[in-house]
Symmetry: C2
Subunit: 243 residues, 2 copies
Amino acid sequence: MKELWIIGLGPGGGRDLTGRAREALEKADVIVGYTVYIDLIRAEFGHKDLRTTPMRKEQERCEMALELADSGKVVAMVCSGDPGVYGMAGLCYELAPRWPEVRLEVIPGITAACGGAAVLGAPLMHDFCLISLSDLMTPWEKIEKRLRAAGEADFVLCLYNPSSHKRKDYLRRACEILLESKSPDTPCGCVREIGRAGETATVLTLGELRDAQVDMFTTVFIGNSQTKILGGKLVTPRGYLQR
Amino acid sequence: MKELWIIGLGPGGGRDLTGRAREALEKADVIVGYTVYIDLIRAEFGHKDLRTTPMRKEQERCEMALELADSGKVVAMVCSGDPGVYGMAGLCYELAPRWPEVRLEVIPGITAACGGAAVLGAPLMHDFCLISLSDLMTPWEKIEKRLRAAGEADFVLCLYNPSSHKRKDYLRRACEILLESKSPDTPCGCVREIGRAGETATVLTLGELRDAQVDMFTTVFIGNSQTKILGGKLVTPRGYLQR
């Protein structure tokens, strides 16, 4: 059986790797990934055949992995977080029909929503939406529509890719849409470099978030109408004490 | 320092446990949890002081954990999946002010959305909403509003607690709301007993899902307008090949 395993490293890399992911990396002949993610596992898996491709070369990376798997190597492709959440799992499945003998398996990892929530406290205890603010592949109008829907239905939100060099004001625009339906006092949080050296967490209000500067290494959390700050932590009650 | 660690076991238990979670369980003096979850780790951590409380006794379970931590024990409370997603993290933080010397830490796990998505293929590659259909602590009207908003804004959906003995028709009602805005041909998937013996996955359409029987051990996925079935797998393109 020809095998391609698409593996989530979790945020950061080491500590949040699952037992299943570690076992797969140990078994693999070749490990493929974006340079930065390969560097995260180099200390532990540097004796393996490691292949890197640069940022933005997602299609080439998946094709390389499928090609190597088709040649008979057991291939592990690594992604930050969870490969099934804005990772490479979908693209691998889309390309896979060209290599029909390769069997794909996704090995999940801790996505930034879960990793960042744990740092902030417990913001995602109730229904939530995960939205990427990147409009590289999604029209901004669609992103706006989703933000508005999420705000009006009182979801907690977790925002991926809240900023980049070219999209400096996107988080401000998102906050302005959410302020149509959410209070400016809504508790929010930002976590930067989740699980890495230099991890930082900030708790602030939606009104403050609108004017905050965040970068592409930041994951943003916006509470629902019940979210509160308790001892510096962001907590969305599920309702156990309120029923 | 008095410590309470709230730990996610991932779906099932063993294989998806992270290195950080395993290390914490090894260090803990006492492990507290719902009976079923304690049983999942008994084989490996049976030599520890294990304390269980039955279903529905969430508040008592958290109070027991905080009380034990306050007495000087290092306490690990285990949750299925991720403690930060419909788990015990929020309730522990809500109760914690009564034990001000206890420091809480959430150690994330793979939530059923990520674990189930990996089984089905790659359904969560684009913006998604996570909604629990349980109305034990949330008015059904609020759940309906969130379903309608998620459907109209073309989110992928992942539904937790889609059914119970008392709520046999909730998934049907949810599907009917989603059918107001989504095509009956929308690809969907169900995963039962994720990561456990007897795990099963089904791919079906939204029209078929409306009439499907699912139980409380099932996690349900509903595609967006782009989701397709490729080689039996549920795949939501992110847009790499479409741009």
